[in-house]
């Protein structure tokens, strides 16, 4: 090996760096230039975060993802299948199942008895979208949403399916969607993280969530989702200790800055200045975050809209309202997880409770965004990780039943942010088992979300260990038919 190596290495770095611009990662690279040290691994910033760089103009600026964790049944929500009621108890025809693999929970069942919804359906709004009686408030905003009945995925168990939905891969430590957005769009608000995570638990069978769902993966950790909590500290370690008020904190930070500046004089390391700025941002967060998370000052009509539950920290309703506030303040990606949708049994008993918790606040969020003129620039997504079977898991009675996991079709809805409102997209067969028209794969959903945010999903990449990774891996097609 010759002497050219080192010079070459410098060139490679420069080329890589300039090459990023050519690949459309201008937002990041440009932000890096504006923010000293951003390109360097160590130096990611609070101040002067990337201003955002899109591949093309788009209306949507922010996302709120209302993840319904555990997989709500499409048959009791948005995919109306009267055939299943007519053929109650009949065995699922093998021709329809078509060799679909089953989870270990029903693979050994002797029969797969069909079961229709115990809850009635009606069409709503000018659009005539079908919604079950469990979701009266969402029915009330039917003309604002786009229901996709033909989502499909590859996984049949919660962990891989959730991970797939959030990161574009069933396994592996890939960055989650929110991290990609933070990476691509940067922050609109210097005092709040770009990617916030809110957790709640309903009254149905729950499945847990995992911090890898909001991981930055191989992206810089500044893009990691910041989990908010309903406890004493809305963000970890946010509050000053007892006996320390903000004035004393300010004074301490002033001493600290002076000390750190002395170190800079001594060592000349620019990382020291970055550290100084991060302390200042932390200080600003200490003021900004409690203001945002304090829901008590919301006016009565807002409380009424979301329901009185929204005053109970940690509920889904409180999180929906908080999501609106965070989004309004410029948080790029607010990720909610609402647990409790895994109705393997006692669906008739559990699902109304889950729906009751989720219905009002979800609809309230759309109404609230709309009345503030924010719906156009905010993309809202509502849905789970897969669908549920059209046949009963366990004992079928006229009064009650359960449903296992089903990957071939499920329903989600989206609203705002450039989505065509009042649309029911895609059709499943009369058994609700297979898609007959307009399938939307998880990768397609991701491609479409990225498109709505102004990105070509094939160009939003990050090179890691030799490969350019994308949220959509090597797949995905934008679903143009659902764009406004």
């Amino acid at each position: 090996m010759d002497k050219q190596v080192l010079e070459n290495r410098l060139n490679v770095n420069r080329r890589h760096f300039l090459g990023k611009l050519g690949l459309g990662l201008g937002g990041v690279a440009l932000g890096s230039l504006l923010t000293p040290g951003l390109l360097k691994r160590g130096g990611v910033a609070g101040e002067g975060l990337p201003l955002g760089f899109k591949h093309f103009a788009s209306k949507a600026k922010r996302i709120i993802y209302l993840f319904q964790n555990g997989a709500p049944s499409q048959f009791e929500s948005f995919d109306y299948k009267p055939t299943l009621n007519q053929r109650f108890g009949e065995d699922l025809p093998e021709s329809i199942r078509g060799g679909q693999r089953l989870t270990g929970m029903t693979a050994n069942q002797e029969k797969f008895p069909l079961v229709g919804s115990r809850f009635s359906f009606k069409q709503y709004g000018d659009s005539g979208i079908w919604v079950s009686e469990l979701f009266p408030n969402i029915a009330g905003i039917a003309d604002d949403i786009c229901v996709i009945k033909t989502m499909h995925t590859e996984a049949i168990n919660h962990d891989p399916a959730l991970t797939f939905m959030q990161t574009g891969a069933q396994v592996g430590n890939r960055p989650s969607m929110g991290a990609w957005m933070s990476y691509g769009l940067g922050s609109e608000n210097q005092n709040l993280p770009a990617f916030c995570v809110l957790l709640s638990r309903g009254r149905g069978n729950g499945q847990g969530v995992y911090s890898k769902l909001w991981t930055n993966g191989f992206l810089d950790s500044v893009h990691q989702g910041v989990q908010f909590s309903s406890s004493h500290d809305p963000i970890l370690y946010l509050n000053n200790p007892d006996g320390m008020d903000m004035a004393s904190r300010r004074k301490m930070l002033d001493q600290l800055e002076a000390l750190n500046h002395m170190a800079y004089q001594e060592f000349g390391d620019p990382e020291i200045n970055t550290r100084i700025r991060q302390y200042e941002m932390a200080y600003r967060m200490q003021t900004a975050v409690p203001e945002i998370t304090d829901l008590s000052k919301e006016p009565d009509h807002i409380i009424k809209l979301y329901g009185s539950d929204c005053l109970v920290p940690g509920t889904y309703a409180a999180n929906c309202l908080l999501a609106r506030k965070l989004s309004e303040a410029g948080v790029r990606f607010v990720q909610l997880y609402h647990q409790g949708w895994d109705q393997h049994g006692n669906l008739v008993g559990e699902m109304p409770l889950q729906a009751e918790d989720a219905d009002r606040a979800s609809a309230a969020l759309i109404t609230d965004l709309k009345q503030r003129g924010l719906l156009d620039e905010t993309l809202v997504i509502w849905g789970g990780e897969f669908g549920r079977t059209n046949y009963c898991q366990g004992k079928l009675t006229p009064e009650n039943y359960g449903r296992d996991h089903h990957p071939r079709c499920f329903s989600i809805w989206m609203a705002g942010g450039g989505i065509k409102a009042g649309l029911s997209y895609g059709e499943t067969d009369e058994f609700g088992y297979n898609i007959v028209r307009d399938p939307v794969h998880v990768h397609d959903l991701h491609a479409t979300i990225l498109h709505l945010m102004g990105f070509d999903h094939e160009q939003l990449t990050f090179k890691h260990l030799g490969r350019r990774f994308r949220l959509t891996d090597v797949h995905g097609k934008v679903v143009n038919d659902i764009l406004a």
Binding site: L10, V12, G26, P36, G42, G48, L199, F267, Q278
Partner: protein
């Protein structure tokens, strides 16, 4: 944007093409950020302004100039992956590139010496979008410089060379250097040679106090005690530094420090990892790792035991325990999963970990298709997979809490510990079970799995490895994991030694000689000091794979011991410090931040090993994400001494890892990780400001200092020396003493605040101390803990 961005832009441009002779003028300019932003805007707005890059070298080299271009821009369609290959053309081999094109027998992709008749050059230089390569829809584009490099390389004969990392290392002679006085050992020859060539001067030796802090953290992960500081500063003998190094290498904390990185590599955790995420008991394996480093097991033994300790003829309980390495992967407990799907997932994890940990390669890319860049076919992948596919195991043993150690496992009793496994810190008399490896050779055949799907079995494969690395000889090595270990350790294996040496370097300097320590393949970064890497790799192997010797060699070099002060010139010429003209200032790792606080305040419980512990953690971290099942749904905090264990013993529940650790870039232990990020974020500031551990450390240290009969200034000085590990400078002293007075004043006016402030942590307060005095000193100490220098090796 307070600071100027000093960015390096080499303006090469200005090629005047006069026939085949090009003249070039190049200059290096430092430009301010305004100009740079302008250039950037031009680039992002799509104007191809071309030549913002370096000069074309006189002699173009395949490995260092051409392969990076071809690999990054061409191999996706014209590389090793046979299924993705377009037009049957491959450019990764000379045969492929020189041969006749599929549809045009008289034309060739590359005609050595003749760019104008080389289809490659014509296609990359055309402006016709239907002819252009790479095609516009690929979103890939060659720069003007890259095109010129390829042209010149073809002109000069288009010589292909094997990828540097696949050629076994040979130790080069030490380079000649001018400044012999700077050199301490062999490492320095290689470093200084490059520095002199680049016109840079290395720094002189670091300030003694700073150097002691640096080496103490690098070798033990702990700060030097005051006594060590005193002894070292007062020892003016020439061997003083070496004495300290030897002392640190003998410390039992050396093994802990070295183990932390290996736990990342081995994705060690205390829970199973999927969904319900129940408890597992792999900690005796972790105790073994610490023991192995402390006993300085040679790397060949360390590696062989972990890969094949169950298969050795002289196996014993300890070698078996070491094989826990391959069982640290995540295991599902989700009811209803398909058993085989997950069993395949575990074997996949082992195969990928093997590739990354020992070979520094991205094996995982060849699971679903041939590797796009490196010569690892899908068949190679599953042939390597074969070695890990013979374990009598299940994908799902049972749901939550069915098992803390799925079979195959070993049971360790008190008797085993007293007789052999003396290093295991078991706390009770119950036996502990640990997952280990076992082979049942005829248990199943191994297949290529189409698209990586567990149920898409294709051709049967047998034990083998990618030939481009080193041909696997079944008759010599056998066809099990023991053979695989021998293959790794064969002197013709080009990667094993380089990869380990590079990672040791990375852990000490903050960046490897190969920066992409997990990718030595075509897409990885080239080594900054290839001769040094090879010299170290050969030296390490030839000296019995002696890890302590290697570590000592590195920390004894002038390269390591030099000062970290950066001059303007150094920063401008080499902003990333690739040449190592000064020591890197590196932030302490996540565990070390915690350990530093505990050690400097004397709260640290120095106990080694044992079941992981649960120190303070904010409420609700586990509870808000749990499925509501199993032993780990609630975080039950420990008390007493267990609150003050080193960071590496903090319980890692994979679905909700310790948040303070993640904020400081610790691994979530989801999969094998060979390097951590090193970020600088506002959340880190919040941890240092408000985490009870840091506040408690400040209080306890304040109380201790106040119980001594020393002056106020001596107390502040002592705290400063414990935390920053050097004496205060005058301006620091005067600032901190003034601040102490102010805080005493404030707290005496707000006595309640003082009492509330010191009410932090469970460590008992010293009796009869005035809350105001304690609070004020505690506040000053807390400020010192928050100094950038506190958690940085300078």
């Amino acid at each position: 944007m307070a600071n100027l961005v000093y960015c390096f832009v080499v303006k090469s441009g200005d090629y005047q093409n006069s026939g085949s002779n090009m003249t070039r003028s190049s200059s290096v300019r430092i430009i301010d950020h305004v100009t740079l932003v302008l250039i950037t805007l031009l680039l992002v707005s799509g104007c191809n302004s071309g030549n913002q890059t370096a000069a074309i070298p006189d002699q173009v080299d395949f490995n260092f100039h051409i392969r990076p271009i071809l690999s990054d821009k061409c191999f996706t369609c014209h590389g090793p992956d046979a299924n993705q290959r377009k037009e049957d053309l491959r450019l990764d081999t000379p045969e492929g590139a020189y041969g006749a094109l599929k549809d045009y027998a008289d034309r060739h992709a590359i005609v050595p010496g003749d760019p104008m008749n080389s289809e490659v050059f014509l296609r990359i230089s055309t402006t016709d979008s239907t002819e252009m390569m790479p095609p516009p829809e690929s979103n890939l584009k060659l720069s003007t410089r890259e095109i010129k490099l390829i042209e010149k390389w073809i002109e000069q004969g288009a010589e292909y060379k094997p990828h540097w990392a696949f050629v076994p290392p040979v130790a080069a002679d030490l380079p000649q250097v001018k400044d012999q006085s700077w050199v301490s050992n062999e490492i320095d020859y290689f470093i200084l040679d490059k520095l002199e060539e680049a016109g840079l001067k290395p720094n002189q030796r670091a300030d003694k106090a700073l150097l002691l802090k640096r080496v103490s953290f690098d070798l033990t992960g702990l700060p030097p005690t005051l006594e060590m500081q005193e002894a070292f500063l007062n020892d003016r003998s020439p061997g003083a530094y070496e004495k300290v190094v030897d002392q640190l290498l003998k410390s039992p904390h050396y093994g802990e420090k070295m183990a932390v990185h290996w736990l990342d590599v081995a994705r060690y955790a205390d829970s199973h990892g999927y969904q319900d995420d129940g408890l597992r008991t792999m900690w005796p394996w972790r105790d073994w790792v610490i023991h192995a480093f402390n006993e300085n097991y040679p790397y060949d033994q360390f590696l062989t035991w972990q890969l094949a300790g169950d298969l050795m003829t002289d196996r014993n309980m300890e070698t078996l325990l070491a094989t826990g390495f391959n069982r640290n992967h995540k295991i599902t407990q989700e009811g209803g999963v398909i058993d085989e799907e997950y069993r395949i997932e575990y074997v996949t994890d082992r195969t990928n970990t093997f590739g990354k940990a020992f070979l520094g390669l991205t094996f995982e890319c060849a699971k679903c298709h041939d590797h796009k860049y490196d010569p690892i076919s899908q068949k190679d992948y599953y042939s390597t997979f074969y070695f890990f596919d013979k374990v009598p195991e299940k994908g799902l043993v049972g749901t939550i809490d069915a098992s803390f150690a799925d079979p195959p496992n070993m049971k360790i009793t008190d008797k085993d510990i007293s007789e052999m496994l003396t290093f295991i810190n078991k706390k009770d008399t119950a036996a502990v079970e640990v997952m280990v490896m076992e082979d049942s050779a005829d248990i199943r055949t191994t297949h290529v799995l189409n698209r990586g799907n567990y149920d898409a079995k294709a051709d049967t494969v047998y034990a083998d490895t990618p030939e481009a690395i080193l041909k696997y000889d079944t008759t010599q090595w056998g066809s099990n994991r023991l053979g695989l270990a021998r293959w790794l350790l064969d002197e013709n294996n080009p990667l094993t030694s380089r990869v380990l040496v590079n990672r040791i370097w990375q852990e000490i300097f903050g960046r490897g000689i190969v920066k992409t320590s997990g990718d030595f393949g075509m897409q990885g970064d080239l080594p900054s000091h290839p001769e040094l890497l090879d010299w170290l790799a050969v030296d390490f192997r030839d000296n019995g794979w002696n890890i302590k010797r290697l570590v000592k060699q590195v920390v004894m070099s002038s390269t390591y011991t030099q000062s970290s002060v950066v001059s303007k010139r150094q920063q401008q010429k080499d902003p990333e410090n690739i040449y190592l003209s000064h020591a890197n200032r590196v932030r302490l790792g996540a565990e070390m931040v915690r350990d530093h606080v505990l050690a400097s305040s004397e709260l640290l419980n120095p106990e080694i090993g044992g079941p992981s512990v649960k120190p303070y953690q904010p409420d609700g971290i586990w509870e808000s994400s749990t499925s509501g099942r199993g032993l780990l749904q609630f975080y039950v905090q420990d008390h007493g001494d267990d609150l003050y264990r080193r960071g590496m013993y903090t319980f890692i529940k994979r679905t909700a890892p310790p948040p303070g650790m993640l904020i400081f870039d610790a691994s979530n232990r989801d999969q094998c990780e060979v390097s951590r990020l090193n970020t600088n974020t506002p959340l880190q500031a919040l941890v240092m400001l408000n985490n009870p551990t840091v506040l408690e450390g400040s209080r306890v240290l304040a109380e201790r200092l106040l119980s001594e009969s020393t002056s106020e200034e001596q107390k502040v000085q002592q705290a400063f020396r414990r935390i920053i590990c050097r004496p205060m400078r005058e301006e620091e002293r005067s600032l901190l003493m003034d601040y102490l007075k102010d805080e005493q004043q404030r707290f005496s006016e707000q006595r309640e605040a003082a009492s509330a402030f010191i009410e932090i942590g469970e460590y008992p307060k010293l009796a009869d101390q005035d809350p105001v005095t304690v609070a004020a000193l505690m506040q000053v100490i807390h400020t010192i803990y928050n100094m950038e220098e506190a958690i940085t090796k300078s």
